[in-house]
Symmetry: C2
Subunit: 302 residues, 2 copies
Protein backbone atom coordinates (compact mmCIF):
# COMPACT_ATOMS: atom_id res chain seq x y z
CA UNK A 1 0.00 0.00 0.00
CA UNK A 2 1.87 3.08 -1.15
CA UNK A 3 5.59 3.47 -1.48
CA UNK A 4 8.42 3.06 0.95
CA UNK A 5 11.39 5.34 0.23
CA UNK A 6 14.76 5.35 1.91
CA UNK A 7 17.11 8.24 1.21
CA UNK A 8 18.45 11.48 2.54
CA UNK A 9 16.75 14.43 4.17
CA UNK A 10 19.14 17.34 3.97
CA UNK A 11 19.78 21.02 4.38
CA UNK A 12 21.18 22.40 1.12
CA UNK A 13 23.16 25.55 0.42
CA UNK A 14 23.02 26.18 -3.31
CA UNK A 15 24.10 28.85 -5.75
CA UNK A 16 23.07 29.00 -9.41
CA UNK A 17 23.43 31.86 -11.92
CA UNK A 18 19.85 32.76 -10.97
CA UNK A 19 20.02 32.98 -7.19
CA UNK A 20 20.96 31.17 -4.03
CA UNK A 21 19.58 29.58 -0.88
CA UNK A 22 21.13 28.70 2.49
CA UNK A 23 20.27 25.60 4.46
CA UNK A 24 17.10 25.04 2.47
CA UNK A 25 15.18 21.78 2.68
CA UNK A 26 16.61 19.13 0.36
CA UNK A 27 17.60 15.48 0.15
CA UNK A 28 16.63 12.62 -2.16
CA UNK A 29 13.90 11.23 0.12
CA UNK A 30 12.40 14.68 0.54
CA UNK A 31 12.09 15.49 -3.17
CA UNK A 32 10.89 11.95 -3.89
CA UNK A 33 8.22 12.00 -1.16
CA UNK A 34 6.72 15.36 -1.98
CA UNK A 35 6.61 14.48 -5.68
CA UNK A 36 5.06 11.03 -5.09
CA UNK A 37 2.58 12.43 -2.57
CA UNK A 38 0.41 13.74 -5.42
CA UNK A 39 -0.26 10.15 -6.50
CA UNK A 40 0.02 7.78 -3.56
CA UNK A 41 0.84 7.29 0.14
CA UNK A 42 4.53 7.64 0.95
CA UNK A 43 6.49 6.25 3.89
CA UNK A 44 9.91 7.74 4.55
CA UNK A 45 12.92 6.01 6.07
CA UNK A 46 15.63 8.58 6.82
CA UNK A 47 17.43 10.40 9.59
CA UNK A 48 17.66 14.04 10.64
CA UNK A 49 19.52 15.73 13.48
CA UNK A 50 18.29 17.71 16.46
CA UNK A 51 18.64 20.91 14.45
CA UNK A 52 16.13 19.91 11.77
CA UNK A 53 13.58 22.75 11.56
CA UNK A 54 10.07 21.84 12.65
CA UNK A 55 8.57 23.77 9.71
CA UNK A 56 9.96 21.17 7.30
CA UNK A 57 8.34 18.37 9.31
CA UNK A 58 5.05 20.27 9.11
CA UNK A 59 5.35 20.75 5.38
CA UNK A 60 5.95 17.01 4.81
CA UNK A 61 3.03 16.16 7.10
CA UNK A 62 0.81 18.56 5.16
CA UNK A 63 1.57 16.44 2.06
CA UNK A 64 0.40 13.37 4.05
CA UNK A 65 3.88 11.86 3.93
CA UNK A 66 4.25 9.26 6.71
CA UNK A 67 7.24 10.19 8.90
CA UNK A 68 7.15 7.27 11.36
CA UNK A 69 10.37 6.07 9.78
CA UNK A 70 12.08 9.45 10.04
CA UNK A 71 14.55 9.04 12.89
CA UNK A 72 15.66 12.09 14.85
CA UNK A 73 19.20 11.36 16.02
CA UNK A 74 21.58 13.28 18.29
CA UNK A 75 23.80 15.58 16.22
CA UNK A 76 23.36 17.68 13.11
CA UNK A 77 21.31 17.06 9.97
CA UNK A 78 23.06 16.04 6.74
CA UNK A 79 24.21 19.09 4.78
CA UNK A 80 25.22 19.63 1.19
CA UNK A 81 26.64 22.77 -0.43
CA UNK A 82 27.17 23.19 -4.14
CA UNK A 83 26.82 25.40 -7.16
CA UNK A 84 25.88 25.30 -10.83
CA UNK A 85 27.24 27.34 -13.72
CA UNK A 86 25.21 28.09 -16.85
CA UNK A 87 25.56 24.41 -17.70
CA UNK A 88 22.82 23.43 -15.28
CA UNK A 89 23.38 19.74 -16.04
CA UNK A 90 26.47 19.62 -13.83
CA UNK A 91 26.43 20.08 -10.05
CA UNK A 92 29.69 21.18 -8.44
CA UNK A 93 29.95 20.04 -4.81
CA UNK A 94 31.56 22.48 -2.37
CA UNK A 95 30.94 20.57 0.85
CA UNK A 96 29.25 17.40 2.05
CA UNK A 97 28.66 17.00 5.81
CA UNK A 98 27.26 13.55 6.49
CA UNK A 99 26.61 14.32 10.20
CA UNK A 100 23.82 12.02 11.49
CA UNK A 101 23.97 10.06 8.23
CA UNK A 102 27.42 8.79 9.14
CA UNK A 103 26.11 6.26 11.64
CA UNK A 104 22.63 5.77 10.17
CA UNK A 105 21.28 2.26 10.75
CA UNK A 106 17.87 2.21 9.11
CA UNK A 107 15.29 0.38 11.20
CA UNK A 108 11.86 0.14 9.64
CA UNK A 109 8.75 0.69 11.75
CA UNK A 110 6.94 -2.66 11.91
CA UNK A 111 4.03 -1.48 9.78
CA UNK A 112 6.41 -0.59 6.91
CA UNK A 113 7.35 -4.27 6.43
CA UNK A 114 4.29 -4.91 4.26
CA UNK A 115 5.21 -2.22 1.67
CA UNK A 116 4.51 -3.30 -1.94
CA UNK A 117 6.71 -0.81 -3.69
CA UNK A 118 10.14 0.27 -2.53
CA UNK A 119 12.34 3.09 -3.81
CA UNK A 120 15.97 2.96 -2.75
CA UNK A 121 17.10 6.53 -3.32
CA UNK A 122 20.75 7.40 -3.78
CA UNK A 123 22.55 6.20 -0.61
CA UNK A 124 25.22 3.60 0.21
CA UNK A 125 24.24 0.38 -1.61
CA UNK A 126 24.81 -1.55 1.64
CA UNK A 127 22.16 0.56 3.36
CA UNK A 128 19.88 0.10 0.36
CA UNK A 129 20.05 -3.70 0.86
CA UNK A 130 19.67 -3.37 4.61
CA UNK A 131 16.39 -1.52 4.14
CA UNK A 132 15.14 -3.88 1.46
CA UNK A 133 15.81 -6.92 3.67
CA UNK A 134 13.32 -5.55 6.20
CA UNK A 135 10.48 -5.47 3.68
CA UNK A 136 8.61 -8.81 3.65
CA UNK A 137 7.63 -9.30 0.02
CA UNK A 138 8.04 -6.20 -2.11
CA UNK A 139 6.34 -6.47 -5.51
CA UNK A 140 8.44 -3.78 -7.19
CA UNK A 141 11.85 -2.44 -6.22
CA UNK A 142 13.41 0.61 -7.86
CA UNK A 143 16.71 2.26 -7.08
CA UNK A 144 18.90 5.23 -7.89
CA UNK A 145 22.65 5.60 -7.38
CA UNK A 146 25.48 7.97 -8.29
CA UNK A 147 29.09 8.12 -9.51
CA UNK A 148 30.44 8.09 -5.93
CA UNK A 149 29.10 4.55 -5.29
CA UNK A 150 30.00 3.36 -8.78
CA UNK A 151 33.58 4.39 -8.13
CA UNK A 152 33.94 3.48 -4.45
CA UNK A 153 31.51 0.63 -3.74
CA UNK A 154 31.10 -1.02 -7.09
CA UNK A 155 30.86 -4.61 -5.80
CA UNK A 156 28.27 -3.67 -3.19
CA UNK A 157 26.32 -1.78 -5.81
CA UNK A 158 26.35 -4.78 -8.16
CA UNK A 159 24.98 -6.90 -5.27
CA UNK A 160 22.15 -4.42 -4.76
CA UNK A 161 21.35 -4.29 -8.48
CA UNK A 162 20.57 -8.04 -8.41
CA UNK A 163 17.56 -7.22 -6.22
CA UNK A 164 16.35 -4.22 -8.22
CA UNK A 165 13.60 -4.24 -10.88
CA UNK A 166 13.99 -0.66 -12.10
CA UNK A 167 17.17 1.40 -12.02
CA UNK A 168 17.18 5.17 -12.63
CA UNK A 169 20.58 6.75 -13.29
CA UNK A 170 21.90 9.58 -15.39
CA UNK A 171 23.69 9.33 -18.70
CA UNK A 172 27.29 9.62 -17.51
CA UNK A 173 26.58 7.16 -14.68
CA UNK A 174 25.26 4.62 -17.20
CA UNK A 175 28.48 4.98 -19.18
CA UNK A 176 30.63 4.76 -16.06
CA UNK A 177 28.80 1.75 -14.59
CA UNK A 178 29.01 -0.17 -17.87
CA UNK A 179 32.34 1.04 -19.23
CA UNK A 180 30.63 1.58 -22.61
CA UNK A 181 30.60 4.96 -24.41
CA UNK A 182 27.65 3.96 -26.63
CA UNK A 183 24.44 4.37 -24.65
CA UNK A 184 22.60 1.41 -26.19
CA UNK A 185 25.48 -0.93 -25.40
CA UNK A 186 25.80 0.66 -21.96
CA UNK A 187 22.11 -0.01 -21.30
CA UNK A 188 22.38 -3.65 -22.31
CA UNK A 189 25.34 -4.13 -19.97
CA UNK A 190 23.60 -2.45 -17.03
CA UNK A 191 20.49 -4.60 -17.59
CA UNK A 192 22.72 -7.69 -17.42
CA UNK A 193 23.47 -6.77 -13.79
CA UNK A 194 19.87 -7.48 -12.77
CA UNK A 195 17.31 -4.73 -13.44
CA UNK A 196 14.54 -5.49 -15.92
CA UNK A 197 14.08 -1.81 -16.66
CA UNK A 198 16.67 0.92 -17.02
CA UNK A 199 15.79 4.59 -17.02
CA UNK A 200 18.49 6.99 -18.15
CA UNK A 201 18.01 10.61 -17.15
CA UNK A 202 19.51 13.20 -19.52
CA UNK A 203 18.53 16.48 -17.88
CA UNK A 204 17.33 19.01 -20.43
CA UNK A 205 17.43 16.29 -23.12
CA UNK A 206 14.74 14.16 -21.49
CA UNK A 207 14.67 10.54 -20.43
CA UNK A 208 15.27 7.17 -22.09
CA UNK A 209 13.77 3.89 -20.97
CA UNK A 210 14.95 0.40 -21.86
CA UNK A 211 12.31 -2.11 -20.83
CA UNK A 212 11.99 -5.71 -21.92
CA UNK A 213 13.33 -5.10 -25.42
CA UNK A 214 11.26 -1.92 -25.77
CA UNK A 215 12.82 1.46 -26.12
CA UNK A 216 11.11 4.72 -25.15
CA UNK A 217 12.35 8.30 -25.44
CA UNK A 218 10.58 11.14 -23.61
CA UNK A 219 11.43 14.79 -24.20
CA UNK A 220 12.09 17.27 -21.44
CA UNK A 221 9.63 20.11 -21.02
CA UNK A 222 10.94 23.30 -22.64
CA UNK A 223 11.43 25.77 -19.82
CA UNK A 224 12.41 29.39 -20.13
CA UNK A 225 13.38 29.70 -16.51
CA UNK A 226 15.37 26.91 -14.91
CA UNK A 227 16.46 28.21 -11.52
CA UNK A 228 17.84 25.18 -9.70
CA UNK A 229 18.17 21.60 -10.99
CA UNK A 230 18.83 20.18 -7.49
CA UNK A 231 16.45 17.33 -6.77
CA UNK A 232 15.18 17.02 -10.35
CA UNK A 233 16.15 13.33 -10.54
CA UNK A 234 14.51 12.44 -7.22
CA UNK A 235 11.42 14.44 -8.13
CA UNK A 236 11.33 12.57 -11.44
CA UNK A 237 11.53 9.26 -9.56
CA UNK A 238 8.76 10.39 -7.19
CA UNK A 239 6.38 11.17 -10.05
CA UNK A 240 7.33 8.00 -11.90
CA UNK A 241 6.97 5.64 -8.93
CA UNK A 242 4.02 7.54 -7.48
CA UNK A 243 2.05 7.12 -10.69
CA UNK A 244 2.92 3.41 -10.89
CA UNK A 245 1.83 2.96 -7.29
CA UNK A 246 -1.48 4.66 -8.02
CA UNK A 247 -2.34 2.14 -10.75
CA UNK A 248 -0.30 -0.86 -9.50
CA UNK A 249 0.50 -1.96 -13.05
CA UNK A 250 3.90 -1.80 -14.65
CA UNK A 251 3.19 -3.05 -18.17
CA UNK A 252 5.22 -1.12 -20.77
CA UNK A 253 2.47 1.38 -21.77
CA UNK A 254 1.98 2.26 -18.10
CA UNK A 255 5.69 2.63 -17.49
CA UNK A 256 5.77 5.08 -20.41
CA UNK A 257 2.99 7.18 -18.93
CA UNK A 258 4.67 7.01 -15.53
CA UNK A 259 7.94 8.17 -17.05
CA UNK A 260 6.24 11.19 -18.60
CA UNK A 261 4.60 11.89 -15.23
CA UNK A 262 8.05 11.83 -13.67
CA UNK A 263 9.23 14.30 -16.31
CA UNK A 264 6.24 16.55 -15.59
CA UNK A 265 7.11 16.63 -11.89
CA UNK A 266 10.80 17.26 -12.58
CA UNK A 267 9.88 20.19 -14.82
CA UNK A 268 8.14 21.85 -11.87
CA UNK A 269 11.04 21.10 -9.51
CA UNK A 270 13.63 23.05 -11.48
CA UNK A 271 11.46 26.17 -11.74
CA UNK A 272 12.28 27.19 -8.16
CA UNK A 273 14.83 26.55 -5.41
CA UNK A 274 14.44 23.78 -2.84
CA UNK A 275 10.91 22.29 -2.78
CA UNK A 276 9.41 25.59 -3.92
CA UNK A 277 8.42 24.29 -7.36
CA UNK A 278 6.58 21.16 -6.21
CA UNK A 279 5.21 21.65 -2.73
CA UNK A 280 2.06 23.52 -3.70
CA UNK A 281 0.79 21.97 -6.95
CA UNK A 282 -2.68 20.67 -7.60
CA UNK A 283 -3.47 17.58 -9.61
CA UNK A 284 -5.32 19.47 -12.36
CA UNK A 285 -2.17 21.49 -13.01
CA UNK A 286 -0.10 18.31 -13.22
CA UNK A 287 -2.57 16.71 -15.65
CA UNK A 288 -2.44 19.85 -17.75
CA UNK A 289 1.33 19.69 -18.12
CA UNK A 290 1.10 15.96 -18.93
CA UNK A 291 -1.16 16.93 -21.85
CA UNK A 292 1.41 19.50 -22.97
CA UNK A 293 4.07 16.77 -23.03
CA UNK A 294 1.75 14.74 -25.22
CA UNK A 295 1.33 17.66 -27.58
CA UNK A 296 5.00 18.50 -27.82
CA UNK A 297 6.04 14.99 -28.82
CA UNK A 298 3.09 14.03 -31.01
CA UNK A 299 3.31 13.42 -34.74
CA UNK A 300 1.00 11.60 -37.11
CA UNK A 301 1.61 8.38 -38.97
CA UNK A 302 2.69 8.65 -42.60
CA UNK B 1 8.58 21.11 -58.92
CA UNK B 2 11.27 19.62 -56.71
CA UNK B 3 13.92 21.37 -54.67
CA UNK B 4 16.81 23.60 -55.58
CA UNK B 5 19.81 23.22 -53.29
CA UNK B 6 22.99 25.27 -53.24
CA UNK B 7 25.90 24.07 -51.16
CA UNK B 8 29.22 22.31 -51.25
CA UNK B 9 30.35 19.17 -53.05
CA UNK B 10 33.53 18.03 -51.37
CA UNK B 11 36.17 15.39 -50.91
CA UNK B 12 36.42 14.54 -47.21
CA UNK B 13 39.22 12.91 -45.24
CA UNK B 14 37.79 11.78 -41.94
CA UNK B 15 38.91 9.80 -38.92
CA UNK B 16 36.60 8.59 -36.15
CA UNK B 17 37.26 6.05 -33.37
CA UNK B 18 35.66 3.49 -35.69
CA UNK B 19 37.60 3.94 -38.90
CA UNK B 20 38.71 6.42 -41.52
CA UNK B 21 38.29 7.44 -45.15
CA UNK B 22 40.44 9.49 -47.53
CA UNK B 23 39.03 11.87 -50.12
CA UNK B 24 35.58 10.33 -49.86
CA UNK B 25 32.56 12.03 -51.37
CA UNK B 26 31.09 14.65 -49.06
CA UNK B 27 29.72 18.19 -48.96
CA UNK B 28 26.44 19.68 -47.79
CA UNK B 29 24.77 19.70 -51.23
CA UNK B 30 25.77 16.08 -51.78
CA UNK B 31 24.31 14.71 -48.55
CA UNK B 32 21.22 16.89 -48.96
CA UNK B 33 20.59 15.79 -52.55
CA UNK B 34 20.96 12.07 -52.04
CA UNK B 35 18.74 12.21 -48.95
CA UNK B 36 16.04 14.31 -50.64
CA UNK B 37 16.18 12.17 -53.80
CA UNK B 38 14.05 9.50 -52.07
CA UNK B 39 11.16 11.95 -51.93
CA UNK B 40 11.39 14.48 -54.75
CA UNK B 41 13.37 15.87 -57.70
CA UNK B 42 16.52 17.70 -56.70
CA UNK B 43 18.49 20.34 -58.59
CA UNK B 44 22.01 21.07 -57.43
CA UNK B 45 23.91 24.34 -57.65
CA UNK B 46 27.54 23.77 -56.72
CA UNK B 47 31.06 23.66 -58.08
CA UNK B 48 33.69 20.93 -58.39
CA UNK B 49 37.22 20.91 -59.79
CA UNK B 50 38.77 19.04 -62.70
CA UNK B 51 39.84 16.29 -60.31
CA UNK B 52 36.31 15.38 -59.25
CA UNK B 53 35.94 11.62 -59.81
CA UNK B 54 33.45 10.61 -62.47
CA UNK B 55 32.10 7.78 -60.30
CA UNK B 56 30.59 10.35 -57.91
CA UNK B 57 28.84 12.06 -60.82
CA UNK B 58 27.43 8.70 -61.86
CA UNK B 59 26.21 7.93 -58.36
CA UNK B 60 24.37 11.27 -58.13
CA UNK B 61 22.89 10.71 -61.57
CA UNK B 62 21.74 7.24 -60.53
CA UNK B 63 19.72 8.95 -57.76
CA UNK B 64 18.13 11.15 -60.49
CA UNK B 65 19.72 14.29 -59.01
CA UNK B 66 19.82 17.04 -61.65
CA UNK B 67 23.43 18.20 -62.13
CA UNK B 68 22.88 20.91 -64.73
CA UNK B 69 23.81 23.44 -62.05
CA UNK B 70 26.97 21.60 -61.04
CA UNK B 71 29.78 23.68 -62.49
CA UNK B 72 33.11 22.05 -63.27
CA UNK B 73 35.77 24.73 -62.82
CA UNK B 74 39.51 24.75 -63.45
CA UNK B 75 41.38 23.73 -60.31
CA UNK B 76 40.82 21.34 -57.45
CA UNK B 77 37.63 20.29 -55.70
CA UNK B 78 36.85 21.64 -52.22
CA UNK B 79 38.45 19.44 -49.54
CA UNK B 80 37.82 19.03 -45.83
CA UNK B 81 39.80 16.97 -43.33
CA UNK B 82 38.74 16.38 -39.74
CA UNK B 83 38.33 13.92 -36.94
CA UNK B 84 35.95 12.97 -34.15
CA UNK B 85 36.70 11.58 -30.69
CA UNK B 86 34.25 9.42 -28.74
CA UNK B 87 32.12 12.52 -28.37
CA UNK B 88 30.76 12.22 -31.87
CA UNK B 89 28.80 15.46 -31.47
CA UNK B 90 31.92 17.57 -32.04
CA UNK B 91 33.85 17.70 -35.32
CA UNK B 92 37.48 18.80 -35.12
CA UNK B 93 38.68 20.41 -38.34
CA UNK B 94 42.25 19.63 -39.43
CA UNK B 95 42.21 21.30 -42.83
CA UNK B 96 39.86 23.21 -45.10
CA UNK B 97 40.92 23.74 -48.74
CA UNK B 98 38.36 25.93 -50.47
CA UNK B 99 39.99 25.47 -53.92
CA UNK B 100 37.35 26.04 -56.64
CA UNK B 101 34.93 27.27 -54.00
CA UNK B 102 37.07 30.35 -53.39
CA UNK B 103 35.91 32.08 -56.55
CA UNK B 104 32.53 30.38 -56.94
CA UNK B 105 29.94 32.64 -58.54
CA UNK B 106 26.75 30.59 -58.64
CA UNK B 107 24.85 31.01 -61.91
CA UNK B 108 21.58 29.15 -62.13
CA UNK B 109 20.63 27.31 -65.32
CA UNK B 110 17.61 29.13 -66.71
CA UNK B 111 15.23 26.27 -66.00
CA UNK B 112 16.10 26.39 -62.27
CA UNK B 113 14.58 29.87 -61.94
CA UNK B 114 11.07 28.47 -61.50
CA UNK B 115 12.00 26.36 -58.43
CA UNK B 116 9.32 26.35 -55.72
CA UNK B 117 11.42 25.22 -52.82
CA UNK B 118 14.96 26.34 -52.14
CA UNK B 119 17.46 25.02 -49.63
CA UNK B 120 20.45 27.24 -48.94
CA UNK B 121 22.93 24.81 -47.43
CA UNK B 122 25.77 26.00 -45.25
CA UNK B 123 27.83 28.42 -47.39
CA UNK B 124 28.70 32.12 -47.28
CA UNK B 125 25.45 34.00 -46.58
CA UNK B 126 26.29 36.38 -49.45
CA UNK B 127 26.31 33.45 -51.87
CA UNK B 128 23.08 32.18 -50.32
CA UNK B 129 21.37 35.47 -51.21
CA UNK B 130 22.97 35.55 -54.66
CA UNK B 131 21.44 32.17 -55.46
CA UNK B 132 18.07 33.08 -54.00
CA UNK B 133 17.89 36.25 -56.07
CA UNK B 134 18.01 34.13 -59.23
CA UNK B 135 14.89 32.18 -58.28
CA UNK B 136 11.76 33.93 -59.57
CA UNK B 137 9.14 33.27 -56.87
CA UNK B 138 10.15 30.64 -54.37
CA UNK B 139 7.28 29.45 -52.19
CA UNK B 140 9.46 28.11 -49.38
CA UNK B 141 13.05 28.99 -48.50
CA UNK B 142 15.05 27.08 -45.93
CA UNK B 143 18.65 27.59 -44.88
CA UNK B 144 21.44 26.21 -42.76
CA UNK B 145 24.52 27.99 -41.46
CA UNK B 146 27.41 27.44 -39.04
CA UNK B 147 29.50 29.09 -36.32
CA UNK B 148 32.06 30.36 -38.87
CA UNK B 149 29.47 32.65 -40.55
CA UNK B 150 27.90 33.62 -37.22
CA UNK B 151 31.30 34.82 -36.04
CA UNK B 152 32.72 36.28 -39.25
CA UNK B 153 29.77 37.44 -41.37
CA UNK B 154 27.08 38.09 -38.82
CA UNK B 155 25.56 41.13 -40.59
CA UNK B 156 25.40 39.33 -43.94
CA UNK B 157 23.86 36.32 -42.23
CA UNK B 158 21.20 38.49 -40.58
CA UNK B 159 20.39 39.92 -44.06
CA UNK B 160 19.96 36.41 -45.43
CA UNK B 161 17.77 35.35 -42.50
CA UNK B 162 15.24 38.05 -43.43
CA UNK B 163 14.53 36.05 -46.59
CA UNK B 164 14.37 32.62 -44.96
CA UNK B 165 11.22 30.77 -43.88
CA UNK B 166 12.88 27.83 -42.11
CA UNK B 167 16.29 27.86 -40.45
CA UNK B 168 18.05 24.66 -39.37
CA UNK B 169 21.01 25.09 -37.02
CA UNK B 170 22.54 23.16 -34.17
CA UNK B 171 22.18 23.86 -30.49
CA UNK B 172 25.43 25.73 -29.88
CA UNK B 173 24.87 27.80 -33.04
CA UNK B 174 21.42 28.82 -31.78
CA UNK B 175 23.00 29.98 -28.52
CA UNK B 176 25.82 31.78 -30.34
CA UNK B 177 23.56 33.49 -32.89
CA UNK B 178 21.18 34.73 -30.18
CA UNK B 179 23.60 35.33 -27.31
CA UNK B 180 21.15 33.48 -25.01
CA UNK B 181 22.15 30.39 -22.98
CA UNK B 182 18.53 29.30 -22.48
CA UNK B 183 17.35 27.53 -25.63
CA UNK B 184 13.75 28.74 -25.52
CA UNK B 185 14.87 32.35 -25.24
CA UNK B 186 17.51 31.71 -27.90
CA UNK B 187 14.83 30.37 -30.25
CA UNK B 188 12.61 33.39 -29.74
CA UNK B 189 15.52 35.71 -30.54
CA UNK B 190 16.50 33.81 -33.69
CA UNK B 191 12.89 33.83 -34.90
CA UNK B 192 12.88 37.61 -34.48
CA UNK B 193 15.55 37.77 -37.23
CA UNK B 194 13.06 36.56 -39.83
CA UNK B 195 12.44 32.81 -40.01
CA UNK B 196 8.94 31.58 -39.20
CA UNK B 197 10.26 28.17 -38.22
CA UNK B 198 13.42 27.27 -36.35
CA UNK B 199 14.77 23.75 -36.21
CA UNK B 200 17.49 23.07 -33.66
CA UNK B 201 19.57 19.94 -34.25
CA UNK B 202 20.95 18.29 -31.11
CA UNK B 203 22.78 15.27 -32.52
CA UNK B 204 22.13 12.15 -30.45
CA UNK B 205 19.52 14.08 -28.44
CA UNK B 206 17.20 14.61 -31.38
CA UNK B 207 15.67 17.73 -32.86
CA UNK B 208 13.53 20.61 -31.63
CA UNK B 209 11.18 22.68 -33.76
CA UNK B 210 9.73 26.08 -32.94
CA UNK B 211 6.97 26.87 -35.39
CA UNK B 212 4.30 29.53 -35.09
CA UNK B 213 4.00 29.23 -31.31
CA UNK B 214 4.09 25.44 -31.50
CA UNK B 215 6.88 23.43 -30.00
CA UNK B 216 7.87 19.94 -31.15
CA UNK B 217 10.55 17.61 -29.82
CA UNK B 218 11.65 14.57 -31.84
CA UNK B 219 13.97 11.92 -30.41
CA UNK B 220 17.03 10.62 -32.19
CA UNK B 221 17.01 7.00 -33.27
CA UNK B 222 18.93 4.84 -30.80
CA UNK B 223 21.92 3.46 -32.69
CA UNK B 224 24.43 0.95 -31.44
CA UNK B 225 26.90 1.74 -34.16
CA UNK B 226 27.55 5.35 -35.08
CA UNK B 227 30.55 5.36 -37.38
CA UNK B 228 30.70 8.87 -38.80
CA UNK B 229 28.41 11.82 -38.04
CA UNK B 230 29.68 13.87 -41.01
CA UNK B 231 26.76 15.03 -43.14
CA UNK B 232 24.09 14.09 -40.59
CA UNK B 233 22.71 17.63 -40.51
CA UNK B 234 22.56 17.96 -44.30
CA UNK B 235 21.03 14.51 -44.62
CA UNK B 236 18.46 15.54 -42.03
CA UNK B 237 17.67 18.65 -44.05
CA UNK B 238 17.37 16.55 -47.22
CA UNK B 239 14.81 14.20 -45.67
CA UNK B 240 12.94 17.09 -44.07
CA UNK B 241 12.76 19.26 -47.19
CA UNK B 242 12.34 16.29 -49.51
CA UNK B 243 9.27 15.11 -47.64
CA UNK B 244 7.77 18.63 -47.59
CA UNK B 245 8.39 18.93 -51.32
CA UNK B 246 6.63 15.61 -51.93
CA UNK B 247 3.42 16.85 -50.27
CA UNK B 248 3.81 20.62 -50.89
CA UNK B 249 2.18 21.45 -47.56
CA UNK B 250 3.95 22.95 -44.57
CA UNK B 251 1.19 23.09 -41.99
CA UNK B 252 2.50 22.22 -38.51
CA UNK B 253 1.45 18.52 -38.51
CA UNK B 254 3.25 18.05 -41.82
CA UNK B 255 6.36 19.86 -40.65
CA UNK B 256 6.41 17.45 -37.69
CA UNK B 257 6.24 14.41 -39.95
CA UNK B 258 8.88 15.93 -42.21
CA UNK B 259 11.14 16.54 -39.23
CA UNK B 260 10.86 12.90 -38.20
CA UNK B 261 11.59 11.90 -41.79
CA UNK B 262 14.72 14.03 -41.63
CA UNK B 263 15.71 12.26 -38.42
CA UNK B 264 15.13 8.89 -40.09
CA UNK B 265 17.47 9.81 -42.95
CA UNK B 266 20.12 11.19 -40.57
CA UNK B 267 20.03 7.94 -38.60
CA UNK B 268 21.03 6.06 -41.76
CA UNK B 269 23.75 8.57 -42.63
CA UNK B 270 25.75 8.09 -39.44
CA UNK B 271 25.80 4.30 -39.74
CA UNK B 272 28.54 4.43 -42.37
CA UNK B 273 31.25 6.72 -43.75
CA UNK B 274 30.62 9.16 -46.60
CA UNK B 275 27.34 8.50 -48.44
CA UNK B 276 27.54 4.78 -47.63
CA UNK B 277 24.59 4.82 -45.25
CA UNK B 278 22.10 6.59 -47.54
CA UNK B 279 22.96 5.94 -51.16
CA UNK B 280 21.29 2.54 -51.43
CA UNK B 281 18.08 2.66 -49.38
CA UNK B 282 14.63 1.78 -50.55
CA UNK B 283 11.48 3.61 -49.58
CA UNK B 284 9.95 0.64 -47.72
CA UNK B 285 12.99 0.59 -45.44
CA UNK B 286 12.65 4.33 -44.78
CA UNK B 287 8.95 3.96 -43.97
CA UNK B 288 9.79 1.12 -41.59
CA UNK B 289 12.20 3.26 -39.62
CA UNK B 290 9.65 6.10 -39.53
CA UNK B 291 7.27 3.64 -37.84
CA UNK B 292 9.96 2.76 -35.33
CA UNK B 293 10.36 6.45 -34.49
CA UNK B 294 6.63 6.55 -33.88
CA UNK B 295 6.84 3.57 -31.55
CA UNK B 296 9.80 4.83 -29.59
CA UNK B 297 8.19 8.17 -28.75
CA UNK B 298 4.58 7.06 -28.26
CA UNK B 299 2.73 7.15 -24.98
CA UNK B 300 -0.98 7.06 -24.20
CA UNK B 301 -3.12 9.79 -22.72
CA UNK B 302 -3.84 9.63 -19.00
Amino acid sequence: MGILVVGSVALDTIKTPFGQVEEALGGSATYFSVSASYFTDVRVVAVVGEDFPEKHVSMLKSKKVCLKGLERAPGKTFRWAGFYDYDLNTAHTLKTELNVFESFEPKLPEEYANSDIVFLANIDPVLQRRVLSQVKSPRLVAADTMNFWIENKRDELIETLKLVDILTINESEARELSGEPNLIKAARKVLSFGPKTLIIKRGEYGVLMFNDGNFFSAPAYPLEAVYDPTGAGDTFAGGFMGYISSIMDWADPNLRKALVMGSVMASYAVEDFSLGGIKALDYKEIEGRFKEFKKLSHFEDL
